[in-house]
């Protein structure tokens, strides 16, 4: 089984910051807006180098989304930055009307997504954002897995015409992907390990957990094919269908409610094209709570142990 090495844990939000800083140097049309969370979003470097292309909007996310929509008129490529909760649920109608329906080229960049935000608790731990954003016609939804991939995704979305929701997180997680060997391409899943017993499709922080689960499964003689689905919409249905046609079963893993997330998109694809037993590693229609990221992932059933258990469970369901 192919293995991956943690090159040193880093937060995915720093990947966003690094990508934005690079865009500041390479793309004169890129502008950034922030709603009083510069440090949390790691936007400092872009701001220091491009003070004229940065807009501090204060704690006023609705206005930020409108400003971003307006800035596209005249050719700017606005990147908005705030927490995932305030990037989506708080401003859903602003995104819906002024950005998505108006087909504005805005990049909604959302940090502190999911339960691994940790101690701040459920008010800030949005587990519904993928669902909210993927339901908007024309919206691209991306949830990269580590620092390197988040940086690459940030750079890639500047060249994509149309609204994008880019979701990343707060905690330091293993940094293991290489854009040299697997360049980032919107809408293109990445097969990380090859296997014939079970497909594990994971997104965001759960990709590393899936690799760890695959290692444990291998020790039990189970060969898992792990696929990194960084783009939830448009979904790379081809890579998923090819894999399950070999393995005959699938586990989806995400830091999100099982309603509205990656798992549902996969289930819809499979139910229409290739009905396949599926198990969901996701939160179970619940709010989160305070705790450390590791404690929360364990308690809410979205870690390597949960993936391993669901993999064995779904293999049993193969006819």
């Amino acid at each position: 089984m192919q293995t991956y090495t943690n090159q040193g844990s880093k937060d995915t939000r720093s990947g966003f910051g690094a990508g934005l800083a690079e865009l500041g140097r390479t793309n004169a049309n890129v502008v950034a807006l922030c709603a009083d969370l510069i440090g949390s979003l790691k936007m400092d470097e872009f701001i220091a180098e491009n003070p004229d292309r940065f807009f501090q909007v204060g704690i006023a996310e609705a206005n930020m989304m409108g400003l971003a929509a307006g800035l596209t008129i005249g050719g700017k490529i606005p990147f908005t930055g705030t927490f995932a909760n305030f990037s989506t649920g708080r401003v859903y109608d602003q995104i819906r009307q002024s950005i998505a329906y108006s087909d504005k080229n805005v990049k909604i960049c959302a940090s502190h997504a999911g339960i691994t935000l940790g101690e701040d608790g459920a008010t800030h731990q949005i587990l519904e954002d993928i669902g909210l954003m993927k339901m908007l016609p024309g919206m691209t939804v991306i949830n990269p897995c580590d620092f390197n991939q988040t940086k690459a995704a940030t750079i890639a979305i500047a060249d994509h015409q149309g609204p994008v929701y880019l979701r990343f997180g707060r905690p330091k997680v293993p940094n293991f992907t290489s854009i040299d060997t697997t360049p980032f391409e919107i809408g293109k899943g990445i097969q990380l390990t090859a296997g014939t017993d079970v497909t594990i499709v994971a997104t965001g922080h759960l990709v590393w957990e899936a690799l760890e689960a695959a290692k444990s499964l291998a020790e039990e003689g189970i060969a898992a094919e792990v696929i990194n689905i960084h783009t939830i919409k448009p979904l790379d249905t081809e890579i998923i269908l090819n894999s399950v046609s070999k393995t005959g079963c699938i586990v989806t893993a995400e830091e999100h409610n099982f309603l509205g997330g990656l798992g549902e998109s996969v289930a819809r694809t499979l139910s229409t094209l290739l009905p396949t037993p599926q198990e969901f590693v996701a939160t179970q229609d619940t709010f989160g709570e305070s705790g450390t990221p590791a404690q929360l992932m364990k308690k809410y059933g979205i870690d390597r142990d949960a993936i391993q258990a669901k993999a064995k469970q779904v293999i049993q369901r193969k006819s």
């Binding site: 609705a62 989304m65 008129i73 087909d103």
Partner: protein, 281 residues
Amino acid sequence: MADIKQLEAFVQQVRRDILRMVHKVNSGHPGGSLGCTEFFVALYQEVMTHHPKFEMDGKNEDLFFLSNGHISPVFYSVLARSGYFPVEELNTFRLIDSRLQGHPTTHEGLPGIRVASGSLGQGLSVAIGAALAKKLNNDPRTVFALMGDGELQEGQNWEALMYAAANKVDNLIATVDLNGKQIDGATDQVLPMGNLKHKFQAFGWTVLDLEEGNKMATVISCLKEAQSLLGQGKPVAILMRTEMGNGVDFMMHTHAWHGKAPNDEQLADALSQNPVTLGDY
């Protein structure tokens, strides 16, 4: 400057368009549209530098954003009669497969529309964003916006007002249609907003009162005065008093025609008060 009489004739034809559009589909918003007709005609026929050969980015031209999108009939009529699209297309208002949706949108590619509006309170933010883009592009032209007065009950407006003043967005003229009415009745009864002039001033805006928002000459002179106040570190607001349903006697002094179309008889009556000037579509 164009002849005031000619512009008033233009207004009269736009009134006919509004009435005929909403009558045909028995839906739409004639009241606010009629109240703002002079404003739209003044903007598109006299005040703004703009190019009917539409380009979304609108570089080096003045831009207009309608926040209270339900008054789409007046917007569509004035855009069509300013050359943005054929006036015959007004026939398709609110019909299936039309570019003239109930509320304005970019989605069907109608020339002249730069953002969707209808869900209230969002247009001022978008206008400010466009004004910021103009500054970044060293584009000296101006961004105009129109909001309803009832619409100011939406909190996003106040985020936007705070931002524009704090950041000296002084290439922006935002007009409020003060007709004093909203769906459920008088704004002073539904949710009194207090002294809007003092509020805008307290937020750091330069504020002009336009007492006669249905008198073409005063609308033009107020918009030109607003233009003369640009570039001085403050955004400019115009509080424009209008009469909902203006130009049709039975539609005035009531909020009943906010979102209601006239029947055949009422249409005939209303049109007889506004004889053809430029020719019906």
